[in-house]
C-alpha cells in the first residue's frame, strides 16, 4: 500500500486522510470534497471566533491590539499563508501532500473564513492607512476567489450544454466541412458569387485577443466589391452572424430565373445559416473558456499585493506600536 510522508503534515495541517484517491470513489467536486469537510471546519472556526469576540467585547472594546485581537490576527495571517501555499502545491506535481482537489476545497472554504476572522480582528476600525489597505486587498482577493468558484462550478457544464455535447475540435471540424460544402456548391455558380462566398469564408473570425475572446462577439467580416469603380474601392464590412452573406444569397435567390440555380442557392443559404449557428457556438465556447481563466489573472496579482500589504501591516504594528 502507498504510505504518505511524515514530513508533509506540517505543511498540510488539514489533511486528515489518505490522498483522496480510492478506486471506489466516484467523481467529487472540490466544493463537495469529503462531504464539505473543510466547509464545516471553516464554519466552526468562524463561529468560535464570533462567540469569543462577543464574550470578550463585554470586557474591553474590540481592537486589533487586545489579546484576542492578536490571536485572531495571527490566525488570519497564518491562514493567508496557508492559502497562498495552494499555489505551491498546484505546481509541485510529485507532492505527497494530498490531492489538489482537497487543497482547493480547503483554500475556498478557509479563504471565506479569513474574511470573517480578519474583520473581527480589526474590530471594524477602518481608515486611510496601510492596515485598511491590507484589509481591502484581502476583500478583493476573496471576492475574486468567489468569482472563480462560481466560474469553476458553473461554466464547464454550461460549455458542454451550449456545445451540444460535442468537443470544440468536433465543432471546428464541422466548420471546415461546412466551408468545403459551400465551396463545392458555389463552384457551379458564377464567379462573382464564388468570390463572395470565398471572401466570407476567408474572413470568418474566431477568437482573437483577450478582449475579443472575453466579449465573445462575432468579428467576421466580408469584402464587398465595388462593381463600378473596381477593386481599390471594395469595402470591408462586418459579417456578424454571416448576415451580409445570407442577405446577398437571399437577394440572388429572389431574383433567380432558373429552378436549378435557385435550388443551389437555397442549399447555399442553408449552409450559411448552419455556419452562423456554429460560429456562434464556437465564439461562445471561446468566451466561456476565456472567462474560466480570466478571473485568475485578477486573483493572482491581488494575492501578491495582499501578501506584501500583510507583511507591511505586521511590521508596522510591531515597529510603531
Amino acid at each position: 500500500m502507498r504510505r504518505t510522508s511524515w514530513l508533509w503534515p506540517v505543511l498540510a495541517p488539514l489533511r486528515f486522510d489518505e490522498s483522496g484517491i480510492g478506486p471506489k470513489l466516484m467523481h467529487e467536486s472540490f466544493i463537495n470534497y469529503r462531504n464539505h469537510r473543510y466547509g464545516v471546519f471553516a464554519v466552526a472556526l468562524c463561529l468560535g471566533a464570533v462567540v469569543t469576540s462577543l464574550i470578550d467585547s463585554r470586557r474591553e472594546p474590540q481592537n486589533g491590539g487586545t489579546w484576542l485581537g492578536y490571536t485572531l490576527g495571527s490566525i488570519a495571517a497564518l491562514l493567508i499563508c496557508y492559502l497562498a501555499l495552494y499555489g505551491v502545491r498546484r505546481r509541485s506535481f510529485k507532492s505527497p501532500a494530498g490531492s489538489a482537489a482537497g487543497w482547493l476545497s480547503a483554500h475556498v472554504y478557509l479563504g471565506v473564513a479569513v474574511l470573517c476572522i480578519a474583520t473581527l480582528h480589526c474590530g471594524f476600525q477602518f481608515g486611510w492607512n496601510v492596515h485598511t489597505s491590507a484589509f481591502v486587498l484581502m476583500l478583493l482577493v476573496s471576492i475574486s476567489g468567489c468569482w472563480g468558484v462560481y466560474v469553476y462550478a458553473r461554466y464547464p457544464g454550461l460549455m458542454i450544454r451550449q456545445r451540444g455535447n460535442s468537443s470544440r475540435e468536433t465543432l471546428l471540424e464541422q466548420l471546415s466541412t461546412l466551408d468545403r460544402r459551400a465551396r463545392l456548391l458555389v463552384s457551379a455558380l458564377d464567379e462573382r458569387l464564388q468570390s463572395y462566398v470565398e471572401e466570407a469564408i476567408r474572413r470568418t473570425h474566431l477568437g482573437g485577443g483577450v478582449w475579443a475572446q472575453l466579449r465573445g462577439r462575432d468579428r467576421s467580416t466580408i469584402l464587398i466589391p465595388d462593381a463600378l469603380r473596381g477593386p481599390p474601392f471594395a469595402r470591408i464590412v462586418s459579417n456578424e452572424g454571416q448576415h451580409v452573406l445570407i442577405q446577398r444569397l437571399a437577394q440572388e435567390h429572389a431574383g433567380a430565373h432558373e429552378a436549378s440555380f435557385a435550388a443551389k442557392l437555397q442549399d447555399l443559404l442553408e449552409v450559411a445559416s448552419e455556419k452562423a449557428v456554429l460560429v456562434g457556438k464556437l465564439q461562445k465556447d471561446i468566451q466561456l473558456q476565456g472567462l474560466l481563466q480570466f478571473w485568475l489573472y485578477c486573483h493572482l496579482p491581488l494575492c501578491f499585493g495582499l501578501l506584501a500589504a500583510l507583511v507591511i501591516h505586521v511590521l508596522a504594528v510591531f515597529l510603531y506600536r
Binding site: P23, Y155, G157
Partner: protein, 792 residues
Amino acid sequence: MPDLEFDVAILGAGPAGLSAAARAAQRKLSHIVLEAGARHANTIQQYQRRKHVMSEPGLLPLRSDIAFAAGRREAVLQGWEDGIRKTNAQIRYQAEVTAISGAKGAFRLALKDGDALRAGHVIMALGVQGNPRRLEVPGGELSCVQTALESADAYLRETIIVVGAGDAAIENALALAVQNRVILVNRGADFPRAKDSNVTRLTRALDAGRLECSYRAAVKLISAAAAESAAPYQVVLGSPEGERTVDCHRVIARLGAIAPRRFVESIGVRFLDDRTDAIPDLSPQYESSVPGLFIIGALAGCPLIKQAMNQGYEVIEHLSGNPIQPADHPVLEAKLRPLLGGREVAATLDLIQDRVPTFAGLKALAMRELVLASKIVTPRKGRRIFARGDYSSSVFHVLQGQVQLEADAGEPMLLRAGQLFGEMSLISGRPHEIGAVAGPECMLLETPHGTIKKLARTEASVRSYIDRVFVVRALRLLLLPRARAETIHALAVRAQIHSISAGDTLFEQGDPIDRLYLLRSGSVTLSRPTRSGDGPVAYCAAGSFVDVAGCVPGARSRTVTARATVAADALSIDFESFSELLSSDEALQRKVQVEQEQQAAAYARMKAQPEAGDVLSFLMSHGVGEATNVLVIDEQLCIGCDQCEKACAHTHEGVSRLNRRAGPSFYSLHLPTSCRHCEHPHCMRDCPPNAIHRLPDGEVFIDDTCIGCGNCEESCPYGVIQMAEVPERVGIVQRLLGRRPAEAAKTAVKCDMCKDLNAGPACVSACPTGAAIRIHAEDVVALARTRASAVR
C-alpha cells in the same frame, strides 16, 4: 551446365544467415547465402533511420565471427557489411528460392530466375516477416513503386498513392499526408484489419480533408507520365464509379507479406501445430523434421538478433563435427545452480521435466527457452510468496519442498514438488484469489505470464494441463470449499470451457437454462432487449457466476442475454449436477442465495434507470470492461487546465503519457487516451525482452530494458503507448559547464500509475476540481448509475 555444388546453402541474409555464412567461411565449408532481396538484413534495413538497435538479452554472450553490439541502425548494418567483407561470406542477392528437393547430402534448390544449385545441407534463416506482397499490375516493377517507407519526412509536396488497408498503410498514409498529397487506395469498403485507434485517426484526417481515400478501388496500371504533366508517373485507379488517372510521384504498396511458413512446409518440415505463430519441430541442434535441413532465427521462434547470430554459428560448428554447448549454457548453468547438485545442465532440465507435469510434453529447445525466461527462487519457510488480492505477472511451479495455499474458506491446500500455482491469476488476469506461503526447503520456478501464455499457445499439452488444474481449483475455491477431492474431480470431468470473442453471446434471452456459467476471464454484460436496442442490466467480471439470478427454481429459460465485452472465457457445469450439489451443500445454498439476491436487485435498479444502461454500454464499447484502472474525467467538473497532462509530463521525464483532449465522451464522461492497465495487458503479449511487468497493485509498466521494438505500441488497441525519445536530464550547472544531454533512443513509454510516487497517480492528485478519477472495471456500474442520476 551442371548445377553449382556447396556444402551448405543458407537461405536469408539476416543476422542468423550472415553469422552462419561467416562461420562457414572460417571453417572452409563451401557455402552460399541466397537472399531474395537486394540488401542484407532486410528487416533491419526497414527500421526507421537512426533507430537504436538493442542487443538483448544482455546476459547472453555473442558467438559470431561478425561483430554486433547495440547501437544505431546504420552502425549495426555497417558492422555487418564489414563482417561480410572480412570473413569472405558468399552472398547471392535477388536469389529467391522457389523449391527445395532431394535429401540430406544432396539437396537441390531451384531459384526464381531459373537457376538451380545443389547443397549437402540447407540452413533456413528466413525470419518471419516474409517477402512483401508486390503490386501485380502492369508497371508494378517500376522504380516509383516501393513496399516500405523508411522516413515520411523524406518526401515533400509530392502526390503519393498508398495501397492497402492495414495498420502499415494507414500509418504511412497519415505520416506522409503531413507534407504531401496522399491518396489511400483500399480494396474494401472499410478497414477491418486495422487497429481502432488508427481507424479513428484516419477517419478524423479524412473528415478534415487532410488526405483522400478511394474505397473498393484498385491500382490498374502504372506508367511514366507525359513530359508536360505535373508528376513523373501516372496511375490508373479502378473503382465502382469507373476508372480515373492520377499523376503521382510514387506508389507505396503496403499489402502485407507472404508468410514463409507455406514454403517451409512444402519442403516437408513439420510444425508443432496450426496456429499462425507456431514454430517448426526442431532438434536441440536446430535440425528440422527433414534431416539435413536446419532452421534458425525468428522462424525457429528466436526473434532476438543475438540469439539468431549464435544459432547460425552453432549450426555450422555442428555441421563441421565440433559439438559445442549452446551459447545459453553458462546462463542456464548459473540459473539452475541451486538445483544442479553435480548434474549436467541437460540432465537438470530433464529432471525438471520429469517432476513438473506441465512441461512433460515439451521439446528440449522449448524447455531451454522457458528456463531462460524464468528464474529459480528459494523463499524461506513461512515467507509469503504472494498475498490474496495481489496482482502478479508470474506463474510458479514447485521444484522442491512445499507451498501452502490459503483460501478464505476451507482447508489450506498443500502443494508438493511438480505442482503449479498462480494459474487462476494467469487465466483471469485478476488479482490472486488465494495467498501462497512457502513451506520448508522450498524451491520454485517463477515464469512470467507472457512466456507461459506463449507456451500455452504453441503447446497443446501445456494448455490442457493448466486448464485441468484451473477447473479443479476454481470449483473448489468458488463453489465447494469443503467438498471431498473425489466430488470435485468427478465434477471437473463434466465441466466445459467456452471461449467467446468480444461481441459474441454466451447465451441469449429465451435459451433454456441448462448450464451454470462461471466467468474465468474477460467480462460480460447481461442485457434485455428494449425498444432502442439492448439495454444492459448488469456487468459480470471474471470470477463471478453469470446470471445466477435467472436460475431460480422453476425457471426454464434465460431472461437476459450474456454478451462478452472483451474476449472472454467461461467454465460451465450442467445444471443437473449443480442442482444436486445445491441440495446437498448448505454453504453453497447460502452463497448462491446471496448472489441471486444481489443480481436480482441490480437488474431491477438498472431497469429502472435506462440512462445508466446507456452509460454502461458506452463504457463497455470503449473497452472499460477489461480495465483494472481507467482514467475517467467528468466534463462537468473539468476546467480544461491540463494540470493532469502537465503533472504526467512533469513526473515522467517531460513526456506526458496521457492525452486529455483525445478519446470519446458520453453523458459528460470523458475517457482520455491513457493506459487502462488491462486485466490481460495486450502490450505484454509480445515483448521480446520481457520488459513489461505488473506490480502487485496492478500497475503495468515498462522497465528500462525496453529495446524499442514497438510491438507493444502496435498491440495496444487503445493507442496509449507511444515511442518517444526520453531525453537525459542535465542540470543547469552542468549545462553551463558544457555538458549536453546524451542522444536518447526511442523506447516505449506508457502510464505506470506513478508507481514510484507515494501520492498515487499524479494526473488524479493534480486535478484541482476533482474531475479526474481512476476506477476499476468493477466500479463501472456504480459510475454509470451516479452519472445517470447526475445528468438530467
